[in-house]
Each structure stands twice: as structure tokens, then as C-alpha cells.
Amino acid sequence: MPRNPLPALLAALGFAAIYAVAASGSPAQALRSFFVGPFSSAYALLSLLDAASPLVLCALGAAIAFKSGAFNLGGEGQASLGALAAAVTLGASGSGGFLGGAVPPWVALCLAFAAAALAAALLALASALAERWTGAEVLLTSFLFSQATLLAVDWAVSGPLRDPDSNLLAMRAIDTGLLLPRLAPPAPLSVGAFLALAIVLAAAYLLKRSRHGYELRLHGQNPAFSRAQGFGSSIELWPLLLSGALHGLAGALLVAGTAGRAVKGMTGGIGWNGISVALVAGADPLAAIPASLFFAWLDAGARNSSIVADLSPDASAVMKAIVLFLVTAAPRRRRSGKGVRA
């Protein structure tokens, strides 16, 4: 049941406009920096695309869980665990690491992405198995496991694994030779964007056309019917496994593409934003592409207007909340009297 997300998006932009006019000493400049700023230079535009790349993977992860009838609330922790796994793998493959240059860069990158996907998938699997065995809701356990993981990753990155020579709460910078090649340095956009795009396109195709995709959608719409059709119970597990893996890949992309190292708190709400993007996109993988670009634009606009003008970067959090409040809304056109069901 896709609903029209347009009112929600317009309401958020309306808030941005009102906030810029009300709170800024120079409204015209604030408005321009917010709405146009993210497109005003090649660097800004490439940064926007770079921010949208891991986000669309998170959105896809959330959407696959939605389609199968589950709510994965643990994306944030899964992404951060993936980021940590990728950073550790790349660190070990780099100079001074215990694999110390023994593996070629592309093998190291493949290993890092595989480790990230695997670690995050296992975290999601824990929730799926708990629901299968005891009935504890994925919705709750995925969130709780994720929060614990998030704090543990923060501890590892800023504690035992921290780079002692740096003031940052971060791990050692990864050798540049082991990072995803950037398309137009110094802009952060890397080949990771193509990877994300390819994964989304493949998922869109598989979800619509393959037998597994059909099985997944059928289970999401009516679990009892899907069982009666003889589809196995593994369908309760692997969509969440996949959802976790996609969040892990997003984390790896943050490390190997954007940041070049694991930093404390680096996921910065990307898991939550992924849920919002998936909702805006009606859990459609292809629609997640423009939706994640929209969210990346909100972030970039708010950040830009806090640098160029005198607004708060947190305006984007409020805008995202407004989108989330309204995106599932379906008000009745005309109320036909009290107590009467439409």
C-alpha cells in the first residue's frame, strides 16, 4: 500500500523555509545556502552523492526487512559493527598490520566488505533466531542488541583500538592504497557509489523477478498463506540476515570510502535515516535512490546553512522527524461525522 510521501517532504521543506526566515539574521543568505548550497559546486554535489551511497544501502536493508514483514530497528548498530569490522580488516592488511602487505589491495577490500557484511548479518541473525525460538519481537531485540553494540564499538574505537598518535577518538588511518579509489579527489565520492547503485539495482530486480523475492514478499503479506503454500520457515531468517549484511556494507563504505578510518560515533544516525528513507520510498528499492538523495540533501543543506549562515545544523534532524511523522499519514478527505468508520 504505497502512500503519497509528497506532503511529508513538502512539510519538511516548509519548516526549513520558516526556520531560516525566523531564526536567521540574513534570511536570504540562509535560504540560498540551505536549498541551493548543496548543488552550488562540484565538490558539494559529489559530497552529497557520497553521503547518499551508504544511506541507500541502509534503506535497502530496512526495505527488505519491511517486505518480509519484519521491522529491523537495529540498523544503526549493525552499520557501526560493519564499519569496525572493515576498519580492523583493512588495518590488518595495511603496513604494520599482521597481514602486512601480504594481500593485494583489492583482496583486502573484498575481505573488509565481506567481514563487515558477515559481522552485521550475524548481529541481525541473533534477533531473528530469538524471535523464532522464543517469540521475543525482532522489533525490540534488534534495537536493544544494536544499542549495546553501538556502545561497545564506541568503546573499542576510542579505547583499545584507538590510534595513540592522534587527538581524534579514532582508529589509525587506513593506508590510502587500501581505500576505495576516489573519483575526483579531494571530493569524498568513491567507486563505492557505483557499488551501492549496483546492489540496489540487483535487489530491485531480484525482489520483483526471482522466486526468492516472490517468497519474501508473499511471507511479508501473509505468513500463514506463505506457509500453506509450502514455503519453508527459513524465510523468517534470511531477509533479516540480508538486512543486517546491507547495513554492514554501508558501514564499510563509510570507512573505506568516506572517512578512511573508523571514528567514534561515525554512523551518526544512518540506520535510523535508512528506516525513514525506506518508509518514504514505500519499501521500493528503486524509489529509495531519490529518497536517500533527498535525505542527504537535507543534511547537506542544514550543514551548509550552519557554516555559511547562522542556522543550526540540527535543523535537519527536525526536518527528518517531520517527514517521519507524516510519511505514513493517510488522513480522511472529509470526515463523515463522529464515530462513523470510513
Binding site: 525460538w133 544499542q147 549495546a148 527528518k320 505514513t328 488522513p331
Partner: protein, 285 residues
């Protein structure tokens, strides 16, 4: 551990459990009405911010606590309005509230106090928050178990059609439950701010979520919810006490309550005979 130490730990557990219990009892009202609000976390943070902001402006602790209650109720109103009149999914609207509260707090804090960080509110410290929270909890439990309002609320949650046929305006009852839940969580947040005499960004630190789990673990009954909340309070104060040791990894101890909550939830489900009815009823795109 000495007897004094044990008593101190219990007292600390009670103090840490009280805000969770109050928020959970508020949440229980929404659960009873068939529209569980996950916005407790956001309402708590909004309450903490409003309490500190008003206390620092007026220098009056009572006004601060009242502001916390009102701010929480406003969050509840938003969720109730979105889920009721706008027919949004109540769960997603709750998530939105949890996203809105920290963002709006930071925005307002920068606008009016020129900081995105800590807002010290010494006027708020030392208020008799435990007594206020206990009173609020008693009011909620009494309204839920003893009054016609509580009975009708449960009727709306259990058999909405029957409640409507009996002439109840179920939308109004749900909105009322969201308002009360928000107010309770807001007051709990104000108590958090009062305890340390300041607002700290993110200070609700998952207590609203833990309150939700307490509702489940407490088998959706007031007594059980109270017990579960106090158990979590004990857990939090234990991990706080452990944190005081030298070189203790703070983040790991902060993460512990989440992990134990998850394990308690799974264990509780495993031990209870009835399995979850499945994921039916949740709105999905």
C-alpha cells in the same frame, strides 16, 4: 558487601528505577488502549530539556517540573494526533517523536541559551522528585485499575468495535492515553534533570526504550511493570557503581543494561508458555 552498602545500592536502584517505572506506567495506558507509544524516550528528553530551561529562566523548581510534564504531554499530543486524526502508523510516529526531541532541544538550546551542550539548572536540583513521581504513579495506577476511565480505555484496546458500539469515542480515549503517557514520561525526564541539576543532551539514554521493555516483561500489568522497572533501575545503578572502579570502560557499562534487557526479554518470552501472536497488525509499506 556490607549491609549499609547493600541498602545504598537498593536506594540507588529505587531512584534509578522510578523514572523508568513512571514512563512505563504511562506507556501502559497507550498499550491498554491498543496503540502502544514508543515515544517515551523522546517525551523524556523533551521533559528534561523543558524542566531545565524553565527552571534556569524562572529559578523555580516546581515550575520546571511542571514544564517537563507539559513538554512531555505535547510530545504525546503530537503522536496521538498523527496516529489518530492523520491516521499515521503509531509506531512510526513514535519513532519520529524520538527523532524530533533531541533535534528540537538542540535547536532551541542554541537559540535561547547559546549552547548545544549542558544547561546547568541548579534551581532544579534538590526538588522532591521521588515523591512527585510516586504520586504520579499512584494516580496512573488508580486511574487505570479503579476508575471507569481505565476500564473503558482497556475496552477500546481489547474490542474497539464493541467499545464504539457502546458509544465510546475511542479516538478520544487513545489521544488521552497518549497525552498521559507523554506527561508521565516528561515528568520522569524532568526528574532526571533534577537529579543532576542540569540538562545534558541525550540524557534519557535509552530509559524510554527500557520502559517499553518493562511493559512487556511486566506482562502489561501495573504491578509487574513496576517490578520490572525497579529491576532495571537496580541494573543501571549496579553498572553505575561498577563504573566507579578505576579504568572501567564507561561505554561497556552503559551498554550493559541494553544487553541484559534484551536477554531478559528473550528469557521471559522463552519461559512464558504463550508465544507471540506474530507480527500481525503492524503497518508496513
Amino acid at each position: 558487601m556490607s549491609l549499609d552498602g547493600l541498602a545504598a545500592l537498593l536506594a540507588a536502584g529505587l531512584a534509578a528505577g522510578a523514572p523508568i517505572a513512571l514512563a512505563a506506567l504511562g506507556g501502559l495506558l497507550t498499550e491498554a488502549a491498543g496503540a502502544l507509544s514508543v515515544a517515551l524516550e523522546g517525551a523524556m528528553l523533551a521533559g528534561a530539556f523543558a524542566a531545565a530551561a524553565v527552571a534556569v529562566t524562572t529559578g523555580n523548581a516546581a515550575l520546571g517540573l511542571a514544564a517537563g510534564l507539559v513538554a512531555g504531554a505535547l510530545v504525546g499530543l503530537l503522536v496521538g494526533y498523527a496516529a489518530g486524526r492523520l491516521r499515521a502508523d503509531v509506531f512510526v510516529a513514535g519513532l519520529a517523536a524520538n527523532l524530533l526531541a533531541p533535534g528540537a532541544a538542540s535547536l532551541l538550546s542554541e537559540e535561547f541559551f547559546g549552547t548545544k551542550g549542558v544547561i546547568p539548572a541548579p534551581a532544579l536540583a534538590g526538588a522532591p522528585v521521588f515523591a512527585v513521581m510516586a504520586l504520579a504513579a499512584i494516580v496512573i495506577v488508580a486511574a487505570y485499575s479503579l476508575t471507569p476511565f481505565g476500564l473503558r480505555l482497556r475496552a477500546v484496546g481489547e474490542r474497539n468495535e464493541a467499545a464504539r458500539a457502546a458509544g465510546l469515542n475511542s479516538g478520544a480515549y487513545r489521544l488521552g492515553a497518549h497525552l498521559a503517557a507523554g506527561a508521565a514520561a516528561g515528568l520522569a525526564g524532568a526528574a532526571l534533570a533534577s537529579k543532576i541539576g542540569a540538562f545534558v543532551p541525550g540524557m534519557s539514554s535509552g530509559r524510554g526504550w527500557i520502559a517499553l521493555v518493562a511493559i512487556y516483561l511486566g506482562a502489561k500489568r501495573p504491578g509487574g511493570v513496576l517490578l520490572a522497572s525497579l529491576a532495571f533501575g537496580l541494573l543501571i545503578s549496579l553498572s553505575n557503581a561498577a563504573q566507579a572502579f578505576k579504568d572501567a570502560p564507561a561505554e561497556l557499562f552503559l551498554g550493559l543494561p541494553y544487553l541484559v534487557t534484551a536477554l531478559a526479554l528473550i528469557l521471559g518470552k522463552a519461559l512464558s508458555a504463550r508465544k507471540a501472536a506474530g507480527r500481525g497488525g503492524r503497518w508496513l509499506p
